[in-house]
Symmetry: C2
Subunit: 600 residues, 2 copies
């Protein structure tokens, strides 16, 4: 077991050497910041995460929230952590100073939040949901809604939730049934049931602000008839003081496989008492609004998956250096001392894979956060637009790739521990269970694949894809070192084939029946995702070559050599796995599509 | 949630159409049996498994055994299940009638045991460990040991365990420290500590018979100094009646991620009281004896992994047929009814992959059981020898392939369920947790890879490999149908490349330093395993083509079409993944081997 949540040396490399985060300091919005303030806020996040979040990660898993007499009982440490996060200013970290915020770039906020998830994903859920809900109100709420709800949410007196899913409508939001009836007092009456609502009940805050999707009576069918409502647990006066209980109630807690510290709830609206809801923005625009939050949440899911993978890697690396077991095959003397298991080639493989997945995932998610920064704060409007389009294209990858490979990393961490890894006496099994949520929530990875292949690639005449190809060219061209050149070549060749198969699929999609072209969307996501992460590794490798040339200490040389070896691992062991996807996509393989229900 | 543990239609197909289990009826040992008695015993296993094992699978997971006042408290249902298994005669199922056994073939016993593991792996652990321990005594024990211990073990009054691992010696048995000192009363005094001993304490039986590896004082170093001892919890008189408490005691329970119904214990020997142990066979031959058990246990682990995968598949298949969600991409009308999720191509992919892994794994394990039958009962002595050698070669694959792909199947089962799959209110998450043990115990899959590439391939001048190639040729040649021919061709081509790379690796291994040649052993295991399972699918496909030609009902046609589609899935989607292994092995890729500890 190790204290390290995310390797600070690696994070600094990624933020400053690979991404040039310091360039943000030139921008108007961040002019009061400096590299020192960035580092200080990261230091604070790391410290609070270790002291206040990591301390009860295991305890909150073992002693999950209970539903007793209509109340949720939780460990007191969860509230202490939530309050510490709020008091350090992270709830409002990205907000304007005028709103009490720190005006931090997304790149830095993402890095900070990484420490909290790595330390304790269950507890980190509450503040993250709160900022996501607050963000919706900030962007789409009216003046009064912002005045009423934002201050208590950003200071941690109120928490927020996202209430989308219903028992019969999970992936298919078009089919939600929760209804909203207008009244002549300005509010709507909400009626219905929601399920899997994270943080839907807790004992942390004075109030809970649910962001609820519902259909106003007479609305159009499908997604075009969905509206967004604020539904507080306690109704509030104009100053935001909670008063009378609103008609939203806890129908039950759901018991999860992991992420146990975050309550997962079934909520009923308007069952026992009238449930007031306040329309956000225009009627029937709810899904569009919610998608802003959802896109941010998807980036957050990817980040979480990457850092839980990272955390397991840190644990298993420490264990592998410490645990003595066996000898190398070439050592035939049974009386020679046992070696640390990190000496065994297969254990190195499992550690190197974890390094490639975790640091590759981290690089991808930080890149996404930087795109958000560029989208909102780049001085050049064209660059802002381009960053937004590229982020849009990459969002399904940033959600899905780490949530596929982060759990793989955790699986390998268990295997490195061997029998010990299978016990709850060691920490990696919890990482593995916690991380298993990430391929499911905020749109399953199957949904992400459809979003990428069915929609994102073709938006705006594939402008996003063109931007991507240009950006990749920059790094491919920069890969002039002897070590990186062959990797750039193999990435470039794979990319060409992927572009070709993309064009073929595009023609099929435009040409008529979308079902066959979309049938193997998951292969496409795997192909595309691994190309993107290979690019992330090429960027790191290019930076490592520069770093190595300038390195003045053994520690530095070891660090850069490790980066290059992990890049080599990715190019030799991972990128080639897409050959299989290319074949299946090229052939529009119909094995799955043609399988019949009655044949199972 | 479904009642089906293993599809009986599939099992019958595999046993009778693919493997011709009826041929065993010609053999002397099985002459009192008939297809009817085989079917009746399978029916009994399925029924007892559903009624007495499945009934508390979830309860025993939620309410795991507790250590209270030096005793282990367990659900009463566990003892009822253990007793039902014993009363139905399964403990002695494979034994001679003279020993009260049923003289069942291994093929049938394996199938029967599959139902118990699918129903409740935790509870099934106790009888399985007991038969494994009894088998060691039967083969290597002396007359008195057999007379004393076998009757109560085969009737379920005593249970058995395997005590190998020590806190500092898991994979590396050479380093065990538990000692055995001879006395002049015939027994030895055992002193030491063991860990992860499954069933090491329980409240099911009058006595527990531990099969313990220990070193006699003055024994040679390493594996050549290990002896095997019987260490009963209670010492017994000549008639096998338990008397005085022996000096083996429970030091603590270990809390596992899954398989919670089976106690995992730390045991101490000779700490508070003298611990008597009785030497089995010759001194210093213990590891050789234990390996007989270990090889059987490895087949059992593979079988367990396959059927837990199978069980999750059955659950998720039932759910996918029932759960309505969304519409096909081509359906643009939001008011059209939602479809069962099995209609979605990506869900079909996840079900088809589960089918390919579960049924492929089952085929592999039944094939292994048949080799055991042939090894012991084939009328032709040469065939007996060949079966033994082939089984020896395939044992690491039969252990490792299902324990890699069974958990993959369970992972997909969770994904099919979506959010529901992540909750403990649905059954698939437990399958996933239970199955995670299988890549670890009885030799991690990394150890299996070294066993295959470092030892098994080269034994007896690679005679096992030659037998394998001959056997495969039979089925490759039989694949004359239009559907199967291309699959046979691709298998044959892959096989040729694998043989070539095997020869190259063999030369490196013989030539000097084994470390580089063994560094990517896990790739070799992946390559070899997928070739073997592709062969298993070709055998099934050949049989399905015959079945389809003779089919007289829609149900039959659906069944065979399903088999062919799953075979196609395996040949299009899974077998090609070994291309990557071939490249890495051919190049003796040194990425992992050359990674340095300080670079991490």
């Amino acid at each position: 077991m190790t204290d390290t949540l995310i390797d600070r040396r690696d994070l600094a490399f990624q933020l400053y050497d690979v991404m040039d985060t310091e360039a943000l300091l030139q921008r108007e919005r961040f002019r009061d910041h400096s590299k020192d303030t960035f580092d200080a806020v990261i230091e604070t996040a790391d410290r609070i995460a270790r002291e206040t979040f990591a301390n009860h990660n295991s305890a909150a898993d073992k002693d999950e929230p209970r539903f007793v007499d209509g109340e949720v009982q939780m460990l007191p440490e969860v509230k202490q952590a939530f309050d510490a996060y709020a008091e350090a200013g992270f709830l409002a970290g990205r907000y304007d100073e005028a709103l009490g915020g720190m005006q931090l770039p997304e790149s830095i906020m993402a890095a900070c939040n990484g420490f909290f998830t790595a330390a304790n994903p269950g507890t980190a859920g509450y503040p993250f949901l709160t900022t996501a809900a607050a963000n919706l109100i900030r962007v789409f709420g009216n003046e009064q809604q912002r005045r009423t709800f934002l201050p208590p949410m950003l200071s941690g007196r109120f928490a927020g939730t996202m209430a989308l899913t219903e028992p019969h409508a999970g992936s298919s939001l078009a089919d939600i049934r929760t209804s909203a009836s207008p009244t002549d007092q300005g509010h709507y009456l909400i009626k219905g049931a929601k399920i899997y609502i994270s943080g839907g009940e807790q004992s942390l805050t004075d109030n809970i602000v649910h962001m609820v999707l519902a259909k106003i009576k007479g609305a159009p069918a499908g997604v075009k008839g969905i509206s967004l409502f604020i539904v507080p647990k306690f109704r509030v006066d104009a100053d935001g003081n909670p008063g009378e209980r609103n008609g939203v109630s806890l129908a039950g807690l759901i018991h999860k496989l992991g992420y146990r510290g975050t309550t997962s709830t079934a909520l009923s609206f308007g069952d026992d008492a009238p449930c007031h809801g306040y329309l956000v923005g225009e009627p029937h625009q709810g899904l569009k609004y919610m998608f802003q939050m959802m896109n941010e949440a998807r980036l957050g899911v990817g980040f979480g998956a990457a850092v839980i993978g990272y955390r397991g890697y840190m644990h298993s690396l420490a264990y592998a250096k410490d645990r003595l077991q066996g000898r190398k095959p070439s050592e035939k003397n049974p009386e020679s001392p046992q070696v640390p298991i990190i000496e065994h080639a297969d254990v190195r493989r499992m550690l190197l894979a974890q390094k490639a997945y975790s640091e590759g995932g981290l690089a991808l998610c930080l890149f996404g956060a930087r795109l958000m920064d560029d989208q909102h704060t780049h001085p050049d409007p064209q660059k802002r637009e381009e960053a937004g389009k590229l982020l849009d294209l990459l969002t399904p990858v940033i959600k899905a790739w780490p949530s596929e490979y982060g759990p793989k990393a955790n699986d390998l961490a268990i295997q490195v521990y061997g029998g010990a890894g299978y016990t709850r006496e060691y920490p990696v099994e919890q990482c593995w269970r916690d991380n298993r949520l990430n391929p499911i929530h905020e749109g399953t990875n199957g949904i992400q694949a459809l979003d990428l292949l069915g929609r994102k690639l073709w938006q705006d005449q594939s402008h996003g894809l063109q931007i991507l190809l240009q950006e990749m060219q920059v790094d491919l061209k920069a890969a002039t070192s002897e070590r990186c050149q062959p990797w750039a070549l193999s990435l470039s060749e794979t990319l060409q084939q992927a572009v070709k198969v993309t064009q073929t699929l595009g023609k099929s999609l435009m040409g008529g029946d979308p079902d066959p072209a979309l049938a193997n969307a998951s292969c496409y996501l795997h192909l595309f995702g691994n190309i993107i992460v290979a690019w992330m590794w090429l960027r790191q490798a290019n930076a490592a070559i520069d770093g190595l040339a300038a390195a003045s200490s053994d520690a530095d040389r070891h660090f850069y050599n490790g980066k290059l070896q992990a890049a080599q691992y990715f190019f030799h062991w991972e990128l080639p796995t897409v050959a299989q996807d290319l074949v299946l996509l090229r052939n529009q393989d119909n094995t799955c599509l043609n399988m019949q229900t009655e044949w199972f």
